[in-house]
């Protein structure tokens, strides 16, 4: 098979395989493009786990073996996993910003396929490891453990070399342009994830188009000038971008699964992805805890069980009125598993192999040396904009994100990641300044796409608030990191947002609409419907639309549908009809 075709076929097969996890990963609020991101990430992580399992079983990575294992895993997933969520349709009305973003992607892809903008790290370790693994039929720990091979970073996670190896298996040979296709794919998925974040944040159309175009062209310019194709830094940037939509949304189990997947993907991609995975999981868990802690008083149901007010069996949202809900603050087991298990499944075998084969390099870490701080900061300032055409200073916008409560979770993740980089520079046993010079511009790529996008969201929100004569919404009391507003609900300046988040935490993700089951006669201090209606009125006053792109949804979220007052629903529909983001009416699968 021609190598480029083999790479496309491998990527398509992995996305298809990843789509078997749709029921756990994607829901009505996720657009078709974002689902594509999730399925692809799931496929790549699944491949990594599959190849790890083959290695542990002593089976070589040969094409028939990998294909058989992939087919078996897909069949098992088909048999045991729930049916995917309803179908959605790709957007058909691209705006000027999306057009520019696609053009930037095409320019980068052309450069990547020529291998002219290949990262030096592709030669020094990523590509070499991929080729070696292909020839050896697995992760070659003997090769990685050779004394002189410290330069290939033998202790790094192996997802990218595995993608290269599988591409070579499919093609029958190792071909550089085909390997570069993975970077172009990661860039495309990153843009799709950022588009979803802008949509989820209900950013104005102009700002969304400008953000997508600007970020895409800035990244393409860096990707070409900074020689980034074939490196793993695109994967880390993609992981953070893929985590952005759930970070901008209320905490729920599906969001936990999305964050868990992004964390696993980051941890499998590069060593810097391991702390990123930890901070993503930690921040999301903290948001969940805060949402639980801020949940309003529970009410008693007829069976004596306690219910959060928003899950009162009398409410029309209650999907199973006989089912008692957990009442103690904390996180239920399925939520915790969705959040933690993927990253743990990726990280633990990797750590075990690194430990078993003594691959961890001594120079990676040493005692903290704070006296280096001035030199390191000076070197960072010197290199902040290397290859970035001035956009590297975009990281200085981080404080702007903290001012917007909805972006605080992202700001916390990015800050922790920057702190980790600083820690590494202050503790490595080699010349820290030389390391900064060699690595910092690449590290900027990890964070800058999400930071620039979030900065546009913050700017647009503040400008929008001023335009309407309002100040930005204050954070809910005691909400802490739980800064998310429901994207498919109206913005809520009051603390009932937290009950919403708590409800989402408990509830099963809706994959298909269910008829609301009113249970009359149960005690309720306040009618859920009237509460929603008031909220919708507030949202209209705030001038925010609930769903920015309803045309991409296959089915309305049952909760959201029932939560909206008829008035707000009409308003959303009319805005959707007027919105240039809107696609033709969705067809149900």
């Amino acid at each position: 098979m021609p190598p480029l075709l083999a790479a496309v076929a491998a990527a398509t097969a992995l996305t298809f395989a990843g789509s078997r996890f749709a029921a756990a990963l994607a829901g009505p609020r996720d657009s078709a493009l974002y689902r594509l991101v999730l399925y692809t990430l799931a496929g790549w992580v699944g491949l990594h786990l599959l190849l790890t399992a083959l290695g542990l079983a002593g089976l070589p990575w040969r094409l028939p073996v990998v294909l058989a294992a992939l087919a078996a895993a897909t069949v098992l997933a088909w048999r045991w996993l729930p049916a995917p969520a309803g179908r959605t349709w790709l957007p058909s009305d691209l705006g000027w910003g999306e057009g520019l973003a696609l053009a930037a992607l095409a320019v980068f892809a052309a450069g990547a396929l020529s291998a002219w903008i290949a990262s030096p790290d592709f030669v020094f370790h990523w590509g070499l490891k991929g080729h070696r693994f292909y020839l050896a039929g697995g992760v070659d720990y003997g090769y990685l453990g050779a004394r002189w091979n410290w330069v290939v970073h033998p202790d790094y996670p192996t997802l990218l070399p595995e993608l290269f190896a599988v591409t070579a298996l499919a093609a029958g040979r190792f071909d550089e342009p085909a390997m570069m296709l993975w970077s172009a794919a990661a860039f495309a998925l990153l843009l799709a994830a950022l588009r979803e974040a802008l949509r989820r944040a209900a950013t104005s159309r102009f700002a969304a188009q400008a953000a997508l175009a600007g970020v895409a062209m800035a990244l393409a310019a860096y990707g070409i000038g900074g020689l980034s194709a074939g490196g793993a830094d695109w994967l880390i940037a993609l992981a953070l971008a893929a985590a952005l939509p759930p970070l901008l949304s209320p905490v729920d189990r599906r969001g936990a699964a999305q964050i868990g997947l992004a964390a696993a993907f980051a941890a499998a991609s590069k060593v810097e992805g391991v702390p990123l995975a930890a901070s993503l999981v930690g921040i999301y868990a903290a948001r969940a805890w805060a949402a639980r802690a801020a949940a309003p008083a529970r009410q008693s149901g007829p069976d004596g069980a306690k219910y959060p007010s928003s899950q009162d069996p009398s409410s029309q949202d209650s999907r199973d009125s006989r089912k008692p809900r957990k009442t103690s603050p904390g996180i239920d087991l399925r939520f915790a598993l969705a959040l933690v298990l993927p990253a743990a499944a990726v990280t633990l075998p990797w750590l075990a192999e690194v430990w078993h084969h003594h691959l961890f390099l001594d120079y990676n870490s040493g005692p903290l040396a704070p006296e280096r701080l001035p030199r390191v900061l000076a070197a960072i300032a010197d290199r902040m904009d290397e290859s970035w055409n001035g956009f590297g200073y975009g990281l200085l916008l981080l404080p702007l994100l903290v001012l917007d409560r909805r972006l605080r979770a992202l700001a916390a993740v990015v800050s922790l990641q920057l702190l980790f980089y600083l820690y590494v520079y202050l503790s490595v046993r080699i010349d820290a300044v030389a390391l900064v010079q060699a690595s910092f511009p690449r590290l900027v790529l990890h964070l800058l796409p999400a930071v620039l996008t979030a900065a546009v969201v913050a700017l647009d929100r503040r400008a929008g608030s001023r335009l309407e004569g309002q100040e930005p919404l204050p954070p809910p009391a005691g909400a802490g990191l739980d800064s998310a507003l429901a994207p498919d609900l109206a913005p809520e300046p009051e603390s009932d947002l937290d009950s919403e988040a708590a409800e989402d935490l408990d509830s099963d993700p809706p994959s298909a609409p269910e008829a609301p089951a009113p249970v009359p006669g149960l005690p309720s201090e306040r009618s859920e419907r009237s509460e929603r209606s008031e909220r919708s009125d507030r949202s209209e006053a705030a001038g925010s639309a609930a769903e920015s792109d309803p045309a991409e949804r296959s089915e309305p979220a049952p909760a959201a549908a029932s939560e909206r007052s008829p008035r707000s629903e009409r308003s959303v529909r009319s805005e959707a009809a007027d919105s240039p983001w809107a696609a033709p009416p969705p067809l149900r699968a």
Binding site: W148, N149, G214, A221, G390, S544, E575
Partner: protein, 149 residues
Amino acid sequence: MRPAPPPLCRLILVLFVVWAGIALAVRTGAAVAGWDSRGADRPACAWRFGTGPVESLRRCLARVEGWLPPDTVVVFVSPPGPCNAPFFCWRWTAYLLPDLEVSPPDDVEGRQRASYLIAYRTRPAPPPGSHLVLVRQLEGGRLYRIDRP
């Protein structure tokens, strides 16, 4: 969907897009110019796929590739040069010979384990306690077997 942002915000966003567009155009132009002059000589730390030095090295190693058994440990020696040339030349050689274990000449364990030596544009000194036997002439280099008494 929010209403359109105020003029100042729009101006900031337009400047952002214009700036990014100019940056992309400049970087793309530089990449195209670099591609056009890829045949020129350049220091080893600036080698890329398709550049003249890399193609020279590839031609040299083509006569080694597939000739030695897989996993053979080979010492690679190249002349000194600016920009830490031996290091980068060694790394490119390791990339171009992925089925072999390519050691730099200054690694003690590599020298001890190696059974062959590739000399690229230089005359090598044999590892201590051994002598070199020429087994193959390469384009711009030589392949030696390391004989240890």
